[in-house]
Structures are given as structure tokens and as C-alpha cells.
């Protein structure tokens, strides 16, 4: 049985169908807060696209991260969502409405800039009040809201300071307060912790995470720090050379990287170039392997996280079990990383509390379902391009 509400919405969508698709209606149910459709950006004078044919959906209330090294196109993507750059191709939709070409001051989007971009001639309170003043909020309402916003980022008492009288972390908080005071639909954060030292950064990560939970605003967080991205996000996109390599939850990205780039960029991984011998058997150099599933292609890359490799006697029952020689040992404080030479392959394993020295014999192994077949980064892009064509 349909409820009356559903019926009426159906009727309205039928009547409006000739003008617009239901997804393009303002505030239509399930319309993503941000949608990129085939967005490309080539900067004038450059022949390589900074962002190439990108599709992206970001849902209401999500903490979404874009992770990539410098030059991967992550900041360009953010700037196109903010409206500072216009895509050369494709559309940017905000709340289901095409916002391509809409200037930044007409978008319900706020940005926290990497260098904070606080107005140097205004006091903290004037900086934070700026979006409200521009929106024409009544004077009586501005003061309590500024106080509230500053309290939320624990900056009460700094109202009369000028930005140059604040420390980096304090400026960061004021920038956050300014970006959030207008209660935007979407908050963009461009490497907001990049200029802070480690201790402050960890502290600000918690502040951000709490803030997002409290205010329920959709966050898009751009970073090159995989730790930040994994810790904060509901979903994240890993970008490389203008393409999205993988878009998934942090656990999935970590446990099941789609490409060799993702496997190498996020955490550490052993990447083995393998060729299939028969069924679920394969060979990496001189190393025989048992796979969890039959690979689709004859040549493929296998990614095995060091921490999924079992070291010592416990590994004896596993289908992939090897005896090898220790090559190098790295002491990392909380654990020891051991490079093992097994046939002509070199693998990294975690030795835990056991102590090995170079030249020692070592046995290790892994269960086949821990090893993930990843696509080569180049072939993945070619495949995408052939799909577009």
C-alpha cells in the first residue's frame, strides 16, 4: 500500500517530468549534496588535465575525504565545488541543482583555506561575523551567534584579538568558526591541518570530528595524509593524476585496494607481479602462490599487507607457507619490520616482539583471502577512457 504522501509526490513528479528530471528538483529526496558529472579541468596553458572526467556523489551528512599526493587534482576538485574554478567540461551539481558557472558567493558552501585566509585588518569577532554580515543577518542576532561559534571551537575570550596575534592552531579554529557560522550545507576543508605541528594536528582532528557530528554538516576534506583520511572519513576517494583510483570506505580501501597505486599509497603493501599457472594457482617469480579466487587475467598484481602475514610457527598450516632468509630489519619503535628474501622476491613482514637479525632463517605465510588482486594503475585509467569512448 502506498501512503498518500508517496502518491502525491509521484503525481507531482509526473507533472513536472517534462521540464526536469526528478533528480534535478530542488531538495529532491536522495539527491546528493554534491554531484560531479563527467567533470574535467584543464588549466589554460597546460596540456594535461588536472582533473579528468570525474564522477562523484557525496551524500548528506557525510564526512568525505579526497586523498592524493600533490598534483593529483584534489585541490582543483575542491575549488570547482567551491566555485573558484570552472570545469572545462562536465557539470557540478549542488543539492541536485546545476551550479556550474554559479559564483562562489551564491553557493551555500564554505571553505576552510589551507593558510586560514583570515582578514588581517579585522578582529576575530569581525572575521567570524563576516558571513552573517554579508547575508544581512540582523545585528542583534550576530553577536550571540559569534559567541556561540567561538565557543564551539573553544576560542571564547579571543574576540578582540587580531589574526596576527594568534597562533597557528588558534587561527585554524577561528577559520573554522567563520566557515561554520553561516550554517552552510557543505564545508570544504583544504588541507586544513597542513601547517600545524603533529600534536596540534591530532588535537584538531578530534575537534573536527566532533564538530562534524555536532553540526551534521557535510564535510569534504582534502588531504595528502592517509592517516588523517582513514581516521576521519565515512568514505574517501583516492586520486592520482586527475583520476579517482578508488572510492570506498576507509576499511575497504585499506583491506581491498583496487589498484596498485592505492595499495602502495595507503599503508604499506607487498606488491607481487604474478602470472597464473592453473585455476587458483599462480607464480610470482620463483614463488608459488595459492589464491583465494581464480584471477581474471593471466598476468596480475597481488597486494599483501605486511600485517596480514603470519610469522613464525603459526604459519605452518597456511596454504601459502614459505621458509626464507631475513634480509634487513627496521626497528620502528612499536614493532620491527623485517625484509625477507624469498626466492627472487623481497617481502616486508611485521615481526612483532620476535627478534631477527639479517641472515636468520624465518618462516611465514598467509591465508589466500588476505591477498588482494589489484589492477595496475595505468590499465585502470585506460579502461576508464575506453568506457567513456
Amino acid at each position: 500500500m502506498k501512503t498518500a504522501k508517496e502518491e502525491s509526490s509521484q503525481v507531482s513528479s509526473v507533472t513536472s517530468a517534462p521540464q526536469a528530471e526528478p533528480a534535478a528538483l530542488p531538495g529532491a529526496d536522495g539527491a546528493p549534496v554534491v554531484e560531479l558529472r563527467g567533470v574535467s579541468k584543464t588549466y589554460p596553458g597546460g596540456d594535461v588535465a588536472a582533473v579528468d572526467n570525474m564522477d562523484l556523489n557525496i551524500q548528506e551528512g557525510e564526512f568525505f575525504s579526497i586523498l592524493g599526493s600533490s598534483g593529483s587534482g584534489k585541490t582543483t576538485t575542491l575549488r570547482m565545488i567551491a566555485g573558484f574554478e570552472q570545469p572545462t567540461k562536465g557539470n557540478v551539481l549542488l543539492d541536485g541543482i546545476d551550479a556550474t558557472g554559479v559564483p562562489p558567493y551564491r553557493r551555500d558552501v564554505n571553505t576552510v583555506f589551507q593558510n586560514y585566509a583570515l582578514f588581517p585588518h579585522m578582529k576575530v569577532e569581525a572575521n567570524v561575523a563576516y558571513p552573517l554580515k554579508m547575508a544581512g543577518t540582523p545585528k542583534g542576532e550576530i553577536k550571540p551567534r559569534v559567541a556561540e561559534a567561538l565557543e564551539r571551537v573553544s576560542m571564547t575570550g579571543f574576540e578582540k584579538r587580531l589574526p596576527h596575534q594568534l597562533s597557528g592552531g588558534q587561527r585554524q579554529r577561528v577559520a573554522l568558526a567563520r566557515a561554520l557560522i553561516g550554517r552552510p550545507r557543505l564545508l570544504l576543508l583544504d588541507e586544513p591541518l597542513g601547517a600545524l605541528d603533529l600534536k596540534l594536528r591530532e588535537n584538531m582532528l578530534l575537534v573536527l570530528k566532533h564538530l562534524q557530528r555536532e553540526v551534521g554538516i557535510t564535510f569534504i576534506y582534502v588531504t595528502h595524509d592517509q592517516g588523517e583520511a582513514l581516521a576521519m572519513s565515512d568514505r574517501l576517494a583516492v586520486m592520482n593524476g586527475g583520476y579517482v583510483e578508488q572510492l570506498a570506505s576507509p576499511t575497504e580501501i585499506y583491506d581491498r585496494p583496487a589498484t596498485s597505486f592505492v595499495a602502495g599509497f595507503i599503508g604499506k603493501s607487498n606488491l607481487l607481479e604474478c602470472s597464473c599457472t592453473s585455476g587458483d594457482k599462480a607464480q610470482a617469480g620463483t614463488m608459488p602462490l595459492v589464491l583465494g579466487e581464480a584471477p581474471g587475467e593471466e598476468k596480475f598484481t597481488l597486494s599483501i599487507r605486511p600485517e596480514t602475514i603470519v610469522v613464525g610457527e603459526d604459519s605452518r598450516g597456511l596454504p601459502n607457507h614459505y621458509e626464507a632468509v631475513v634480509g634487513d630489519v627496521l626497528f620502528l619503535g612499536h614493532e620491527r619490520e623485517v625484509m625477507v628474501d624469498c626466492g627472487d622476491q623481497r617481502l616486508v613482514v611485521r615481526a612483532g616482539q620476535q627478534i631477527y637479525s639479517p641472515g636468520d632463517p624465518i618462516e611465514f605465510g598467509w591465508s589466500p583471502d588476505k591477498a588482494v588482486i589489484v589492477k595496475a594503475t595505468g590499465s585502470w585509467q585506460q579502461q576508464q577512457q575506453s568506457q567513456d569512448a
Partner: protein, 315 residues
């Protein structure tokens, strides 16, 4: 052996020290000589302006302010001062608007040949006033415009505008471009962004530029001489006085002009220095130190042109 060696070394060190002192001494004397050359005429003029004697010879006989009071009782002189102030005020106001607009355009436009464009605008600032005055006069004459207030203003605007433009441009170059983006991001359109963010950012540079422009306008004589009609500005009037003989009144006038100019230039320099310090972020200190040296250039040029130089020949 070792002792002898150390003695020799010590002696050599002492000798090199003596050479160093000698060089420092010569350089120091040279610098002092240059400063005396620049400032002594001004100081002597100032001294004679309060000397109680009609004849300008040493020794000084006594202190008096009568030359100053004579100056302010001289009706044509007062007229000339007021006229100069009016010209300067109007010329600086116009130049501030135009200079700011050009600075913004040059900073924002991404076009080829921007440097040429910029150099062409700078030409009136460095061109001899004589050339400027004659060429403008010829043009006004062809256009059948009588020389007078507006022709003087037009002449002054043509060299104050590039001055203000360069000072503001230097500030814009060190400004953080993300500030304007942040303003737009906060919901301010281009006009309100200009008013609330861009303009306050260059405010100090603009004021400093106006002060320098004001002194330029007050002191300018070459082009003004051609462009003034029947009513002279202060420098033109004083120059006229000189033709009928040298009175201590002229000393008083020079002292006022020099004092006023140097004060304004000092304030402008101080403003630029302070704003340059305050507006830079700690991490870009090194980069902006170089840029600020560039920013100081127009004011230094102005000081050379109008400060001591224009006063010294009067003595």
C-alpha cells in the same frame, strides 16, 4: 718558533685591523660629506629664516619670527599657498582613484605586454617636468583650453597617478589572493569584497601614496610654470619673488615647504614600513623583504626629486 709565529700572526692581524679601520673611516667621511651636501643648505636656510637681519651673512645676529609673520601677512603669498593646497587636494583625490584602479587592473589582468603597459604609465613620473609642461600646454592650446586651475591639476595628476599606482601595486603584489576568495566564499560579491577586504588591504599604501603625491604637487614648479594661468601656485610665486631680489621672507617660505614635505614623506615612509611588517605572514618574511625593498623605490625616488634637491638651489 711557535712563539715567533704567533707574534707575526698577531702583528699581521693588527695590520689588517688598521687597514679595515682606515677603509671604514674613509667610507664614513664620504657618507658624512654626502649628507652635509644634501642637508646643510636646508639647515642654513632654516637658520637664516629666523635670523634677525635683512642681510644674509654670518654670524647670526638674533632670533626672530618676523619673516614668518611677514610671510603670513603677505596677501599674494597667502593666496598662493591656498591655491597650491587646493590644486594638491584635487590632483591627489583624482590620482588616488585612477591610480588605485590602474593598480588593480595591472595586478589582476593576465595579459601579454603588461610590463610595457606599466612602463608607459610610469613615464610621466620620470619625464622632466619641462617636457610634460610644454607638451600639455601645446595640447591645451590646440584644444582651446585656457591655462588655469584645471590645467595645473591635469598636469599634476599625470605624474601623481603613476606614483600612487606603483605604491599600491607593490602592496597588492604581496597581498594574499586567498583573502578575496575567502570573502567571496563568505557570501560577499565582488563590490563588497573590494570594499571590505581589498581596499582595507591597500589602505595604508594608498594613504602613503597620497601623502607623497601631495608633497610632489606642492613642490612642483617646472610643469606648473607652463600650465598656470594668471594665478600662481606657491613655488611659482616664490620663484617670482626671487626675480626681484632675495628677502629673508623667501627663506621662511622655503623652510615651510621643506619642513612640510619632509614631514609628509617621513609619515608616508613610516606607514609603508609598518604596513609592510604587519601584513606579512611569518613564513614569507624572507620573500617579502625583497619585495618591500622594491616598494620603497618610488618613495626614495620622490624624496630625491623633491626633498633636499628642490630646496638647495634657493640658497
Amino acid at each position: 718558533m711557535a712563539a715567533a709565529g704567533s707574534v707575526r700572526m698577531r702583528r699581521r692581524r693588527r695590520e689588517s685591523k688598521a687597514v679595515k679601520y682606515l677603509i671604514v673611516g674613509i667610507v664614513g667621511l664620504f657618507v658624512i660629506a654626502v649628507y652635509i651636501f644634501l642637508y646643510a643648505p636646508m639647515i642654513i636656510t632654516a637658520l637664516f629664516s629666523v635670523n634677525d637681519s635683512k642681510i644674509q651673512t654670518l654670524p647670526l645676529v638674533g632670533f626672530t619670527t618676523k619673516w614668518f609673520s611677514a610671510l603670513f601677512n603677505d596677501e599674494p603669498m597667502k593666496q598662493a599657498i591656498l591655491y597650491s593646497l587646493k590644486v594638491a587636494a584635487v590632483a591627489v583625490s583624482v590620482s588616488a582613484c585612477v591610480g588605485l584602479a590602474f593598480a588593480l587592473m595591472i595586478d589582476r589582468l593576465r595579459i601579454r605586454g603588461k610590463a610595457v603597459f606599466q612602463a608607459l604609465l610610469a613615464a610621466p613620473l620620470v619625464a622632466p617636468g619641462l617636457v610634460l609642461g610644454i607638451s600639455l600646454l601645446v595640447n591645451f592650446h590646440t584644444a582651446k583650453i585656457e591655462p588655469g586651475f584645471f590645467t595645473i591639476v591635469a598636469g599634476h595628476v599625470s605624474f601623481i597617478t603613476p606614483l600612487i599606482m606603483f605604491i599600491v601595486l607593490q602592496r597588492l603584489k604581496t597581498a594574499d589572493p586567498t583573502l578575496e576568495q575567502a570573502s567571496m566564499d563568505c557570501g560577499a560579491g565582488p563590490l563588497r569584497t573590494f570594499w571590505h577586504v581589498t581596499l582595507p588591504g591597500v589602505r595604508v599604501a594608498l594613504i602613503a601614496g597620497c601623502l607623497l603625491g601631495f608633497t610632489l604637487s606642492m613642490d612642483e614648479i617646472a610643469s606648473t610654470f607652463f600650465l598656470a594661468g594668471t594665478q600662481p601656485t606657491l613655488p611659482v610665486y616664490v620663484w617670482g619673488l626671487l626675480r626681484f631680489g632675495f628677502t629673508p621672507e623667501v627663506n621662511a617660505a622655503f623652510t615651510l615647504i621643506a619642513g612640510g614635505s619632509l614631514t609628509l614623506i617621513g609619515i608616508a615612509g613610516l606607514l609603508l614600513f609598518i604596513s609592510g611588517r604587519r601584513n606579512r605572514l611569518p613564513e614569507e618574511k624572507k620573500a617579502s623583504r625583497w619585495r618591500r625593498r622594491g616598494a620603497g623605490r618610488p618613495s626614495a625616488a620622490a624624496e630625491r626629486e623633491i626633498g633636499p634637491g628642490s630646496v638647495a638651489p634657493g640658497v
